[in-house]
Amino acid sequence: MHISDGVLSEPVIAAGWIITIILIFVTFRIRMKEVDIVEEIPKFSIMTAAFFVASLIHLPIGPTSVHPILNGLIGVILGPIAYASMFVGLILQALLFQHGGITTIGVNALMVGIPAIIVYYIFKGGYGKGISLKLLAVICGGLAIAMSAVLLVVVLVSTGQDFYGLAQVAFVAHLPLIVIEGILTGAIVAYIARVKPELLPMKLKIKEDLK
């Protein structure tokens, strides 16, 4: 899910940066109204660190390879500022690991950040409607990857017809990751619910969730 420099057209790169800058500003404003943002910074750093090193785990799938992204988990834990967290993580990955490009950080952030924000609201809303916390976490973990894969296809296709084949391969390669991240997110959220429920975006009301 890291697009390198020199792949995308200039309008797509520019659009990625504009959307990313706007979303970082807007999501911070939204979160500042909900919580004291300074208190969130340590949590923000831990989740960014997890995102930062997740790309080092190499899962070979067919002719290509994928790596965990954790955007569903980060979205559930951090809420809207997950976008900024992954933006910071992508900058560190690009500068320190040469993963992805510098010019494409905006587009790469968009592909992982927008699904993270969406799954946060799904998680919060779903829990309010009484859906099981663990089931929601599994769905959110998998759904975030699925949405990111769709966005990757949209970005590649919008760059040119030459990328149709690559977009299809990229989408298929991420299908196993949907299952892996769903299970991973479900397990981590269930554990957090037991040992540190304050990390989750809402107060747990069902006693079963705390067991």
């Binding site: 890291h2 390198s4 020199g6 208190e39 960014t48 660190a49 080092l56």
Partner: protein, 152 residues
């Protein structure tokens, strides 16, 4: 130590250990260029994941700095490619890339000779250390502001 502290410690140790795993190919591409009589190019992601059968383009650069497309080919099974310098051209820009957009470039001057690593890369553990350093610093700033607020 309560369960949350154990969880945090475990998390930090786990994500830190990832940095020491050998097959960390991810996306970064590296290139070593070696010159004897011929110029040899080797492309790789990591020690265990090489850039086999991927594309290579070589541009010959003249004295005025103008580039001429010299070679357009693919690396072999061992991710190697060897070519002979073109008469009258001392400098070459070499680019390797795949269809996913992973790419690396290096420039070599045959007159100066020697070996040119394509990119100045930090080893993965050091890069992980560096990244964690920035993030721990960020967390520290947050905790410092928070502590000052509580004192006031």
């Amino acid at each position: 130590m309560n369960r949350f502290n154990i969880l945090c410690t475990f998390l930090f140790i786990s994500i830190f250990i990832i940095g020491f795993v050998t097959p960390v190919s991810g996306h970064a591409v590296y290139m070593d260029v070696t010159q004897n009589v011929e110029i040899e190019v080797f492309g790789y992601h990591s020690e265990t994941d090489i850039f086999s059968n991927e594309n290579i383009v070589v541009y010959a650069i003249d004295e005025n700095g103008e580039e001429l497309l010299y070679i357009e080919d693919t690396l072999d099974e061992d991710a190697l490619y060897t070519f002979t310098p073109k008469d009258g051209y001392e400098e070459y820009r070499i680019k390797i890339y795949d269809d996913w957009g992973h790419q690396e470039e290096a420039t070599i001057n045959v007159k100066e000779g020697g070996t040119s690593p394509g990119s100045s890369q930090l080893s993965t553990p050091i890069a992980v250390f560096a990244g964690f350093g920035y993030l721990i610093g960020l967390a520290g700033v947050g905790m410092l502001i928070s502590a000052r607020r509580k004192n006031n």
